[in-house]
Symmetry: C2
Subunit: 335 residues, 2 copies
Amino acid sequence: MTDRPIPPAATSSDVARLAGVSRTTVSYVLNGTGSARISAATRARVREAALRLGYVPHAAARSLRAGRNRMVLMPSPSILVGPLLGEFFLQLHQGLAGLGYSIAGLGGPAPADDTDAARAWAELRPAAVFSLDGTGFSPEGVELLRRSGVGALVTFAPSPVPGVHTVLHDPTEVGTLAADHLLSRGCRRLGVVVPREPGLELFSRPRLQGVYATAAAAGAHAERLDLDYTEESARALAARWHELRLDGVFAYNDEYAMLLMRALQDAGVDVPARTALIGADDLLLGRLLRPRLSTVRLVLPDPHELAALIDLSVRGEAPSRVPEMGLMVVRREST
Amino acid sequence: MTDRPIPPAATSSDVARLAGVSRTTVSYVLNGTGSARISAATRARVREAALRLGYVPHAAARSLRAGRNRMVLMPSPSILVGPLLGEFFLQLHQGLAGLGYSIAGLGGPAPADDTDAARAWAELRPAAVFSLDGTGFSPEGVELLRRSGVGALVTFAPSPVPGVHTVLHDPTEVGTLAADHLLSRGCRRLGVVVPREPGLELFSRPRLQGVYATAAAAGAHAERLDLDYTEESARALAARWHELRLDGVFAYNDEYAMLLMRALQDAGVDVPARTALIGADDLLLGRLLRPRLSTVRLVLPDPHELAALIDLSVRGEAPSRVPEMGLMVVRREST
DNA sequence: TTGAAAGCGCTACCAA
DNA sequence: TTGGTAGCGCTTTCAA
């Protein structure tokens, strides 16, 4: 890190002075607002001056004056970046938060401080907030954000969240599809692998519920199998396999499915003959397992459609429809 | 989405009016600045009014006035969130960018618009920018950000980036360690699996170089094996295995290693007897393979130390030292 | 074709 | 203990 003293940031006044024009003119030229009315020579002088000074407009001042903002906030749960980096970011956030900083980007806050999160975002007066896992969108959070003039709130959720554009995705349905599939393969005693990792409960619980409901409706048995993301835990589970007498298992996702499959095979349990196994998320690794892993695949909505929706909503128009998330069972060899 | 009209955001003037005090007093109370000098009764009235109005301070106005900001920007490459979501976010970004929005959060811009990215961040006048993969930290970008008053720039890189707090991590070293390990296991003809995915080149190329250099120094052979993240590609590679006559392979990471191991085993190539195989990143899945996968493990720096460093740097003090990233070979059964 | 000036919401200096 | 007020950097209306 060089410690050469840094010149203070150039303002539009500095640019104006160097170019020998008024701030008005600078603004017109740089924003192309009244450009047609400014002579080419002046335009060139202003541009040159801006470049020379390394001028960068001050977003805060601009949005303060404009009364609005073109920033879209996309906070994200640390689970999305995997356990190693996720943990790192989470702790980094905590450290910075403790020092009084707010963070825009990876590894969002714990779901605990829900309306705190909303408040932090509201302070930034963004045009939109896209909270993947719904953090910050409690009723109070939504109220707060809307009253702060945030134009569009978007999330993924099983049922419409009031005041929020909800991309419908019912995690229950993942469990339902998996259970339906297992039942159609003749299974009558189902197990559901549920991760013990705390952050995942939000996703795992509904998947479990889906299996329960479907099994109950078909008069089949279903039970929950808690699992740590470790070999030991999987081994312990596999050791109990005889007494469990399960003929079909839905694992939270393909990684947990792989974990269990390995343990079952090591314990001499044949998949799928003895126990059928299906995962979720359709990771490549599922195709590399032997037997190849059946899975429930998620189909994300069209990003461009979503972008257009956000824009529409920010501009105060009511979008006609919100895209949905799709699901499909991919049958391979493990079921 | 309810379409109930939203009241305009409350300002500190609104709070002052409702509480029957001046804006000064509101500011003092809410920020605890001169709190000691404000009567408890007044404090309570102000707090009550703020709550009733759902008042949220306007970060832009505040940082404009204060001349500084407490925001840390952590843009992130979409690779980090996996291929499915990564692709989704990347396209969402593009869509929004096309509509004139700037995005803070997941799935940053392509490395192409490097100084564009820096300019976008500079406009926000954040206290710090932590760019994991160094995007935006070209010499021009750094200059731009520093001149815009950004207090701390942090990144991971193999050698100190001028003007940036660099958490030293030499990806070359990953290749070096892997190659050293393979050589120590008696391998003389090394292969290096390099992903064809474009975003990964930044990381894969140095790892390859590390192997080349180490092999050359030991008088051993090393060659590059391009691989798509698909089964077909791995199968095709395995089919050429006889002619390649390699006795040791370093795969870009554990996932690619798993991909190759599967293909090799399907082709009847014994690992490690015929060819030793080592991955990187120490993912759980490596421990689930048979044989268990050897790997090069990354040891991230202490997040709290990093947070403290950022704070120090923002406050204009020169931190004594920047934490480093560590590496270690984890030997299992595949080598 | 260009400039002067008001004002966005907030904080902090100075006065009362 | 509290209030008046200036000014952060920018855009935009109105006037020249």
